[in-house]
Structures are given as structure tokens and as C-alpha cells.
């Protein structure tokens, strides 16, 4: 370990897959989706791509996307 716990190369945040914290998983129903982009804008972890793909490696399952979806296209499913 480096003296002073310094981090001398980038990428440690990427390696830390925070998706493991998740209890509820957001599932998007693309049939219902009206492409308003609310979920993309509100996601605090930038886990939803412009193509509406959810990055489950880093999604912590906060549920904000489901809350903000005006047509209830995102459902929070219990994962564990």
C-alpha cells in the first residue's frame, strides 16, 4: 500500500461496483416508455444511457427513476 494511502492511478471508482448495494432493481418497460428522458436526468449515478439501457453494475436501486417516470414505465423489483 502507498504511503499516505494515496491513489496513483485512475480507475479505482470504476472497479468499485456499487450495484452490489442494490436491494430493489429498476426494470424498464420499453413499450410504456414515452422517451421523456426524466429517468436519465434524475438518475444521481448517471446509470441510464440515452438509449434507456440501465447500468446494473453501478445502479444502487434508489428508485428515483421509477418515482419520476410520468407513465410508470419503471418498476422496482425486489432483488434480495
Amino acid at each position: 500500500m502507498e504511503i499516505g494511502a494515496t491513489v496513483k492511478e485512475p480507475g479505482s471508482t470504476r472497479r468499485n461496483k456499487t450495484g452490489s448495494w442494490r436491494i430493489f432493481k429498476p426494470i424498464l418497460d420499453k413499450e410504456k416508455c414515452i422517451e421523456c428522458d426524466n429517468c436519465i436526468l434524475f438518475c444521481p449515478d448517471a446509470c441510464i444511457s440515452p438509449e434507456y439501457e440501465i447500468d446494473y453494475d453501478y445502479c444502487k436501486g434508489c428508485g428515483i427513476c421509477a418515482e419520476e417516470c410520468p407513465v410508470k414505465a419503471i418498476k422496482m423489483e425486489r432483488e434480495r
Binding site: 500500500m1 502507498e2 504511503i3 499516505g4 494511502a5 494515496t6 491513489v7 496513483k8 479505482s12
Partner: protein, 270 residues
């Protein structure tokens, strides 16, 4: 070698002037105040080329020290009692980031009841912060210990901050003859600080003070403990080198043995 009749606070300031720190963030507090005043005077007179930061609290003083040290500067600050208590959380940061900061602490009791006189509870309360603590008992020891502490703290085997503790009023305001060592000889004894382990350099980017899991945290704090243990030998060696370089009589500073009881004149490492 010039012999000056000065107060211990003045002796500390004179030693700091010779150590040439580039950044000095200090907040005045009784009985340390005159250290901050002398240093301000040295900087204003052009005797010491340094950035003297007039901070709004001791918490800011030590925070500025951590930032400046991480940017590669040699730094100095001084405080006492409530000031040291206000520095508390950043003391752990300084040790954790392995910033070789040197600080003078004029030992004073902690409130309440409010008291400005000598007591060691302020520095003893910070015993486990990861700082090396040196207790001095004369103006000469205070002077020498500042220079020695920089050399010990900046040693690659140590890299820990040091606190030079002097008894408030009993020592800080006592006037004694002090041998001021020549400038050029200090430059040989104490070369410029060149950090490698933790330095904010755009050419060599690194992150300091990041989040860590408990296993890494324990590892980092354990490294501090190992460095503290290694510092004992380094302190003895640097004291010996200082005595030889500046031809100090052993009886003037007879504290090269460490933590073997509390005999008069001994230096203690926490």
C-alpha cells in the same frame, strides 16, 4: 555561533526562520502568541521568505498546513490548548496523509474552568493522532528541537508530523541564552523538502485523502504506527548528527535516549 538572550518563543521563531518554511499559517493564542508575532515580523521584514497566512481559526491553520504540505511546501504552525483542540480532526488527517508538518505547541490547560497556565492535557489528548511529540525543557532545546523535528519528520522512513511541546509561560516566556546556529550550516543539515510520496503535481497526478474500506484503513493507520516505531532510531541518529554538526555539549541537550523513564532532560516520543 551567536549567543542571544531571548525568550523561548523567540527561540522557536528563530529556529523556524532558519528552517525556511514556505508557508506559515498561524492563529495567535496565549501563550503562543509571540511566536506568531515574531514570524509575522520576520516575513514582513523580508528576513523570511514565506507565505504568512492570516487564518480565521486554528482549524483553518492546520488545514492550510495540510494543503501546503501536500503541494510540496515545508510548513510551520504554532498553537496552544483550545487551539490544539480545535485542530483535532485535521491532526489525524495530517498524520494519515503523512505530511511532515512541524508545529510548536505551548502547553496550556484546557477549559473549563478557563485557564491560560501550564498543563499538558492539550497535547496528551492528541497522543493517538499519529503525531510525534517532543517535550522540551529549555529555550535551547526548543530551538534545537524545531530543526531536528523537520529533519526527523521529512525522513523517508518516518514522514510523520511533529509537535514540539513547550510549557506555557514557564518556558515560553522565560528568557535564556540561546546559541543560534549559522545559516549556511543549517542549509547543509536541513536540505530542502522534496516530497515523493504525496505531492499534488499535474505532471504526476494522484489522489490524496480518498475513501477507504476498513481493511485499507487499518493498513494505513498501521503504517503510521510502524513509522512511529522507526522514528525512535531516526530521532536518536538526527540528534547525534545535530550535536556533532553544531558542536553541542552533550549535557546541554542530554535527551537522546527515548522513553526510558521520565528523567530530567529526556525527550519523549509518543
Amino acid at each position: 555561533m551567536a549567543l542571544k538572550i531571548i525568550s523561548t518563543n523567540r527561540a522557536v521563531a528563530e529556529a523556524v526562520k532558519l528552517a525556511k518554511p514556505q508557508v506559515i499559517p498561524v492563529y495567535p493564542i496565549t501563550p503562543q502568541t509571540s511566536i506568531s508575532e515574531y514570524l509575522a515580523q520576520f516575513v514582513a521584514n523580508g528576513e523570511l521568505e514565506a507565505e504568512y497566512i492570516r487564518v480565521e481559526s486554528e482549524h483553518s491553520a492546520i488545514s492550510a498546513c495540510v494543503g501546503a504540505s501536500a503541494a510540496g511546501a515545508r510548513v510551520f504552525t504554532a498553537t496552544s490548548s483550545q487551539g490544539l483542540a480545535l485542530m483535532h480532526e485535521i491532526l489525524f488527517v495530517a498524520a494519515g496523509l503523512r505530511n511532515p508538518i512541524v508545529m510548536a505547541n505551548a502547553n496550556r490547560s484546557l477549559s473549563a474552568p478557563l485557564n491560560i497556565w501550564n498543563d499538558h492535557q492539550d497535547s496528551i489528548a492528541e497522543r493517538d493522532s499519529g503525531w510525534i511529540q517532543v517535550y522540551v525543557e529549555s529555550a535551547q532545546e526548543a530551538f534545537d528541537s524545531i530543526l531536528i523535528s523537520y529533519k526527523v519528520s521529512e525522513n523517508k522512513k518516518v514522514l510523520l508530523p511533529s509537535m514540539v511541546c513547550l510549557d506555557g509561560f514557564i518556558l515560553t516566556h522565560t528568557v535564556e541564552p540561546v546559541e543560534i546556529v549559522p545559516k549556511d550550516e543549517v542549509n547543509n543539515f536541513l536540505p530542502e523538502y522534496e516530497p515523493e510520496h504525496a505531492i499534488l503535481d499535474p505532471e504526476k497526478p494522484m489522489s490524496l485523502g480518498t475513501f477507504t474500506d476498513p481493511n485499507y484503513y487499518m493498513e494505513a493507520r498501521h503504517q503510521i504506527e510502524e513509522a512511529t516505531q522507526r522514528s525512535k532510531k531516526v530521532i536518536e541518529r538526527v540528534n547525534k548528527e545535530f550535536n556533532e554538526t553544531f558542536k553541542r555539549k552533550p549535557n546541554r541537550r542530554s535527551h537522546t535516549k527515548i522513553q526510558k523513564g521520565h528523567r530530567k532532560g529526556q525527550q519523549r516520543v509518543q
